[in-house]
Symmetry: C2
Subunit: 342 residues, 2 copies
DNA sequence: TTGAAAGCGCTAACAG
DNA sequence: CTGTTAGCGCTTTCAA
């Protein structure tokens, strides 16, 4: 019993007018008299008319839709950004097509192709850890589709980016620790193929150097951004009997891995070893001890990305790519608030 | 410099064939010779052809897209389900249009209308806390759009639902606690207007009754599903000097609120008061003490919902609505593992 | 104020 | 194997 979809024509016939009249009336076009407009709307309502998005957009050559590609979603950082993106889109009567690459660059590429097929008006993209091939981005941009890269960005000149000041944030927290008295500071660094991993590691080093502390290469432990990685990095140093006084974890999950590992070997945080990380989440204040961190403004990441994208969409002809860098702030809780050594 | 989008015709002209040939070739239709197919594909590639999703779907009268409406996204339960939904869709070459109602039933309604406009092939929906008006669901279903209600479902006969055995799960954990020796057990109940709130409260009561424990009405504290609610419920009982030995929180955030409140008034978990909740998350094992809970199979919620939806889509004519109820299991960690009183 | 004609880009049905 | 014809449902001229 597939009920036929109601079309403009159905309404038109009922009223003995043309479908054009109905189309205009429904959109409140001034061409049409108040009376017919009212009539049309009434019938449309009665029949349960629902405009066909595809037909409308095909004809109008505009989708009122923006595409989003993120590497993960079950992660506070991204889900929070996405929620803000949805809010922003909703207020501006835009639809969001969200796709998730699951850190798989092939999948990412496919998603972009799909979004292009859908003729989205623009794309907001946070790349995977190992996206190496930027061709698809270039061709898409050349084809006139506005792009905004958010947080995790490719090494590409002349494109829109909205990032967090990763280097500055890392610098800030390390300097804070140094001021507390810490000197033996390790960094559990993320993947160095991607900007956020590199920048945070850079900020860490810079802060040490600027404060006259020698950089111990053993204390920059490379890994990825996950819990497992934090656990393993800790265990590596532990086995080498080379634990520092403070660990700066590149992400919140990495810090969780450290909690786990430390608990396992019976070292207490923050007395036995202190810990701090980049990135906030809903639950850090419930950890024991509550975890201090560098906070990223997820709402701003969403809003600025959307603003920039809309700006680009509205001024396609003479648009100059912009790079926006957002500031971070420290949230100090139970860790890294005093010097615990000696 | 808006680059014109490449169409079938552009490719056709280049090759001096008709657009139909190109269309077929691109889709690997057996009509077309290997040779032309190859040629067509080459040119399409060279020109960077990207099929127009709208045109294709308008013409084919099928969108290969399914709509999803959830109340929140920055919440482990939902983001986890959504990730699984995306995976499933991706594997089956379907697109997902995800919309977020933010617990606002008006917004929910608008989203459904949008999805209908987009002519999605089906909708998976988890309703808001205070969705009272089910008309839109009914009309949509009458119009032949397959629906699956997931986890949070309306009181509607004869529709597809995939839920967790909330009552059974609550019963299970309470019985576990009783076996441990607990008798003074409170329930920080969620919103009773929605099935999950009601069912969990029901399971709680049933378990008490079945085990010969009197149900103290003061110990069912109604609230909502958020952290704030957990905090306030605790404080209420605390002020009344009426704290139980164990609290069963309706959700994980509510339990977090209890941690907060307990810490604030200097009562220790689990010795001072014990705690357990419905729903798992990535971080409960990091709480102190690690929080035991009733685990919901988010992957199954996603998969079963998708399967059911596809089943309905494929057999529209004679489809009998199904109700699927998924089992829960207990995850025992640092709370509610032994009787701490006296 | 209304409508007829044309077309958005694609596909399905049918001929050749 | 290839192409012609007809339309999907809507919007945008442009004429009445």
């Amino acid at each position: 019993m597939k009920t036929k979809q109601i079309t403009l024509n159905d309404i038109a016939q009922r009223l003995n007018v043309s479908s054009v009249t109905v189309s205009k009336a429904l959109r409140g076009h001034p061409d049409i008299s108040k009376e017919t407009t009212k009539l049309v709307k009434a019938v449309a309502n009665e029949l349960g008319y629902s405009p066909n998005f595809m037909a409308r957009n095909l004809s109008a050559r505009k989708s009122n839709t923006i595409g989003v590609v993120v590497p993960k979603i079950a992660h506070h950082f991204f889900s929070s950004i996405i929620e803000h993106i949805y809010d922003y889109a909703f207020e501006n009567n835009y639809e969001i097509i969200l796709t998730v690459s699951q850190e798989d660059s092939e999948r990412e590429k496919k998603h972009i192709q799909t979004l292009l097929s859908m003729r989205v008006d623009g794309i907001i993209l946070s790349i995977t850890q190992d996206t190496k091939d930027f061709e698809i981005f270039k061709t898409a941009m050349n084809r006139g589709v506005p792009f905004v890269f958010m947080d995790r960005i490719p090494e590409l000149r002349n494109c829109n980016t909205v990032t967090v000041d990763d280097k500055g944030g890392a610098y800030k927290i390390i300097e804070h620790a140094i001021n507390l008295g810490y000197k033996k500071i390790a960094h559990f660094a993320g993947n160095q193929k991607i900007n956020i991993g590199r920048e945070r590691a850079l900020g860490y080093k810079l802060a040490l150097i600027d404060n006259g502390i020698e950089v111990n290469p053993d204390w920059t432990v490379e890994g990825d951004f996950g819990e497992r990685s934090g656990y393993e990095s800790f265990m590596k140093l532990y086995r080498q009997n080379n634990l520092p006084d403070l660990i700066f974890a590149v992400t919140y999950p990495v810090a969780l891995g450290v909690y786990n590992a430390a608990r396992e070997v019976g070292i207490r945080i923050p007395d036995g070893i202190d810990l701090v990380c980049f990135g906030n989440s809903q639950v850090q204040s419930f950890l024991s001890p509550p975890l201090s961190c560098v906070n990223q403004p997820t709402d701003q990441l969403a809003v600025k990305s959307m603003e920039l994208l809309f700006d680009n969409i509205d001024n396609k002809e003479e648009f100059e790519p912009k790079q926006i860098i957002l500031d971070t702030n420290l949230i100090l809780r139970g860790t890294c608030i005093k010097y615990n050594r000696m």
